[in-house]
């Protein structure tokens, strides 16, 4: 028996309740679609959320603009140390892995991404990126709305700690969170023993008809049942995985490795989401940011290498975003405050490599912050249409002009 959304939105009219209680882990059928079937796609999107507001200006650095050094007397990165991109911008010195990806034509830098009337609260701005909707009533995230359109393989997985973010929240609730493979088995007996009858009873008690009318109770029941099923699937998907690639020993590295394992295991999900935290560098930014850049670059480069080694490089594209960039002018505590526009990175063999769009002006500012020229929803629309193969208007509620991001877009135009 499935709960309807109406059941879950208990008293939405009387209490004005917007807190839906989702079925947390209900998921699509197992088994990936055959890639060669007519109309079928097996492309995979990996999203890396940079939480806290990445200082985009010190990530892709407009070294040639004198306004840069003027705004960042202490925090500036000098040209000689940068990872070379072109005559205008260079990458933060710790982004060596990204430099390698760029040489291999596997990295795309989309500059000046943002949205109108930027919000500088972490939570509000992250919500805006997660929801990508102007409708106040919208409670689902953009990928949560995407999943059902992708079809039975459209379910997503969150790799990290805690609850999956709002971006993935949709009609079927939050997708599962995966941290490690080994703590994903239900224990019913000591040591190597099993207690088959107890295992059955646990599942049976979770699937019985409830007398209680509480949606929360039903929700936890469904979550429990789905958890037992998912654990079995994931065990099967990852049994025989091996890789020669040495991932950095960072949390992000291990998370991306887990994603590579799941992809290689043939798990049906096509949307994977993870995050790297700590970008809220209000003070003593230099060492913090360097370490974050190094973590990001190392993990993503290893992941891309691994994906290629296992022959999935044509199917996988990775994307990064942050809730906002940081203020152009550094603050008095060797850090930077919340800002607005910033860049997004795309990694993969299917993308158009290099720099897309100009770096925003450092002098024509919006309340001290960079102005965006590319709405992030245009980027989402492009990813939805050109990579996941779904109608972006159904997800975003309106048409956004696509950005030339994928190699096949160029071919089809010429």
């Amino acid at each position: 028996m499935q709960l309807t959304r109406r059941d879950l939105l208990l008293g939405s009219t009387v209490w004005g309740c917007a807190a839906a209680m989702p079925s947390v882990f209900r998921r699509a059928a197992w088994a990936a679609p055959p890639a060669d079937a007519a109309g079928a796609k097996d492309t995979i999107l990996v999203v890396i959320q940079l939480s806290g507001g990445n200082d985009g200006l010190n990530t892709v650095i407009p070294f040639a603009d004198p306004a840069y050094a003027a705004a960042r007397p202490v925090l500036k990165q000098t040209k000689d140390k940068l990872v070379s991109v072109n005559d205008d911008v260079g990458l933060h010195p710790a982004l060596t892995g990204f430099g390698q990806l760029l040489e291999n034509s596997q990295l795309s830098i989309v500059q000046g991404v943002g949205y109108p009337q930027p919000n500088r609260s972490h939570f509000s701005s992250m919500d805006i990126w997660h929801k990508a909707s102007r409708e106040k009533e919208q409670t689902y995230g953009w990928l949560g709305r995407t999943s059902p359109l992708v079809g039975t393989s459209g379910a997503s997985l969150f790799i990290g700690e805690g609850q999956a973010p709002l971006a993935l929240y949709g009609a079927t609730g939050h997708p599962p969170t995966i941290r490690h493979l080994d703590d994903f088995q239900l224990r019913v007996a000591a040591g190597e023993n099993d207690d088959v009858r107890k295992r059955e009873l646990i599942q049976q008690f979770a699937s019985r008809n409830l007398k209680s009318k509480s949606p929360l109770n039903k929700l936890v029941q469904e979550s429990a049942l789905e958890t037992y099923r998912a654990s079995e699937r994931i065990r099967e998907a990852t049994q025989n995985y091996q890789t020669p690639v040495a991932y950095p020993d960072t949390e992000l590295g291990q998370r991306l490795k887990l994603i590579a394992q799941l992809i290689n295991g043939g798990i049906s999900e096509r949307i994977f989401y993870t995050s790297l935290d700590g970008f809220d560098t209000h003070a003593a930014q230099l060492p913090l940011h360097e370490s974050l850049m190094s973590t990001l670059s190392g993990a993503v480069a290893a992941f891309q290498q691994d994906v290629k080694h296992h022959g999935h490089e044509k199917r996988v594209v990775t994307m990064t975003f942050s809730e906002f960039g940081r203020r152009v002018k550094e603050n008095g505590s060797l850090g930077t405050d919340h800002g607005a526009a910033s860049q997004m990175f795309f990694i993969g063999e299917a993308i158009i490599p290099g720099v897309i769009g100009a770096h925003p002006s450092l002098t024509d500012l919006d309340d001290g912050d960079l102005k965006f020229h590319t709405d992030f929803r245009s980027i989402y629309a492009t990813v939805l249409e050109e990579w996941l193969g779904v109608d972006s208007v159904q997800v975003l509620g309106e048409r956004f002009a696509p950005v030339k991001l994928f190699a096949h877009q160029q071919q089809s135009v010429s």
């Binding site: 989702p22 947390v24 939570f123 224990r187 646990i202 603050n331 008095g332």
Partner: protein
């Protein structure tokens, strides 16, 4: 509305029916009657929300009193700073805290806090301290000073059931908070807006009740405070003494004024009442303004008296209705401390602290200034499985939380009685179908165990553990 339509008349209808009850009736004190009696479900519910759960004996004792007496006892005990037991307990825990601080290990400090939750004679005070830790969420990940984190917790505890006004003032000048929100670097001429923003957004008003300009001005008012040698210090040369306009009030405001102005906003009592509603009534229903209106104005008139509003909530008809009972998801702390309390056992406190972290609630390290999201977000497939596996280790621990000790203590014999006992202990309900299934399972297991060489008492003990584990893995056990 006709008089005959009392809230309890709606009890047997679906939850939807409850939503039409006028707000003032929802907050009337609950008075037991024949159709809505004072029972084990309600006693255990009160203990889960105002303590961290109850033992079998506490539930039985609670049934013999009435709701008003039990609520008064719980509130008075936790509000009485001169209670002999509380003073003695405070003395002991201070020593434990000092040792934990000397170790410099946050796990040790978490362990002491869990010890408080398990054993404090003032459990409501501990619950509220945890509630405020989540509200004024400060993480040692950035503060990196356990002494300051502990000092903040002591302040939270000191005002936990006092006035929210005092609590806000105290937190504004709290050293850990100043470090956490970059107050240290917020100086005249180069303001850092972090602190001002969170005071409005997360501590007092909520999004939409202030402007960006208010934040910039409040940040100026907050300048000059920093932490020197572990103390909050005001340095007037670093303070911007100019005139500021904050939420419509203009003057040469300082930090204290920011709090005063925030507390005077109509949005403030609403914001705090909503948060308390989520804590005490339901984390799955978002109340409308009309619903909480009967509490909001009086809360402000009573100078934000937290003890008063908590008392008002846990006495209410709403609190004992299906809109509240089982309408929260247990936090990791609720789950672990509650399980140990029900089993009248103990547990390695350091292990308990580690498990809290694994399950998503690393004390002294909330994930962001927003605190833990909580509610159904505590549960995902990983944490749910981990909770089930934790239930297995707790119910299977023969030394510290042995369910077999309980069956012995309360003279529980026979498979059906055992099944019923654990269902009543953990869930306060025993569906006959579940009892029958569980009894059949215990009988089958009894036969299997008879073929192995072991004593009668060892066999009975194993069966008790199996029954306890099965009950703790029922989905309902995740709810509070």
């Amino acid at each position: 509305m006709p008089e005959t339509q009392s809230p309890s008349a709606a009890q047997d209808a679906g939850l939807q029916e409850f939503l039409h009850i006028p707000p003032e009736l929802l907050w009337q004190p609950y008075v037991p009657n024949a159709s809505d009696p004072w029972d084990a479900v309600k006693v255990a519910h009160l203990y889960r929300r105002t303590s961290f759960g109850a033992s079998y004996a506490e539930i039985q004792a609670g049934l013999k009193t009435d709701p008003e007496s039990l609520v008064r006892q719980i509130l008075n005990t936790s509000r009485n700073k001169n209670d002999d037991d509380a003073i003695a307990f405070e003395h002991d825990t201070r020593q434990m805290t000092a040792m934990a601080l000397d170790s410099g290990n946050s796990r040790e400090l978490q362990a002491v806090w869990l010890y408080r939750m398990l054993h404090s004679p003032q459990p409501l005070l501990e619950r509220m301290t945890l509630f405020w830790h989540n509200h004024f969420a400060t993480s040692n990940a950035k503060v990196r000073n356990l002494r300051l984190m502990q000092r903040q917790q002591d302040s939270l505890r000191n005002h936990a059931l006092g006035s929210f006004d005092d609590l806000m003032q105290e937190m504004t000048f709290d050293p850990a908070m100043i470090i956490w929100l970059d107050g240290n670097t917020n100086q005249k001429g180069k303001p850092n807006e972090n602190y001002a923003r969170e005071i409005f957004e997360l501590f007092s008003l909520g999004v939409g009740n202030y402007s960006e300009a208010d934040i910039q001005e409040a940040a100026r008012a907050l300048t000059g405070w920093s932490v020197v040698n572990d103390e909050a210090v005001f340095q007037s040369p670093l303070h911007d003494a100019g005139s500021k306009s904050i939420l419509g009030e203009t003057g040469r405001w300082t930090a204290g004024d920011v709090v005063r102005i925030a507390l005077a906003q109509p949005a403030c009592p609403k914001f705090v009442v909503r948060k308390l509603f989520r804590e005490f009534i339901s984390d799955s229903l978002e109340p409308t303004d009309e619903m909480i209106a009967p509490l909001v104005e009086e809360f402000r008139q009573r100078n934000y008296d937290i003890g008063w509003i908590v008392g008002r909530m846990v006495r209410s008809w709403l609190f004992y209705s299906p809109l509240a009972i089982g309408q929260k998801v247990k936090s990791p702390v609720d789950f672990l401390v509650g399980s140990v309390k029900s089993l009248e056992g103990t547990m390695s406190l350091v292990q308990m602290a580690e498990t809290c972290q694994t399950l998503g609630q690393n004390l002294y390290f909330p994930p962001s200034v927003k605190g833990w999201d909580g509610g159904y977000l505590w549960l995902n497939s990983t944490t749910l499985l981990q909770r089930q596996n934790m239930a297995f280790s707790i119910a299977g621990n023969t030394r510290t939380t042995d369910p077999a000790q309980l069956t012995e203590k309360y003279n529980i014999e026979g498979d059906e009685t055992t099944a019923t006992f654990f269902l009543d202990l953990f869930l306060q309900q025993h569906d006959p179908e579940i009892v029958a299934e569980m009894t059949r399972y215990l009988q089958e297991e009894r036969l299997k165990l008879k073929t192995t060489f072991q004593s009668d008492s060892s066999r009975e003990a194993q069966l008790a553990r199996k029954a306890a584990h099965l009950t703790m893995t029922m989905p309902e056990y995740q709810l509070s």
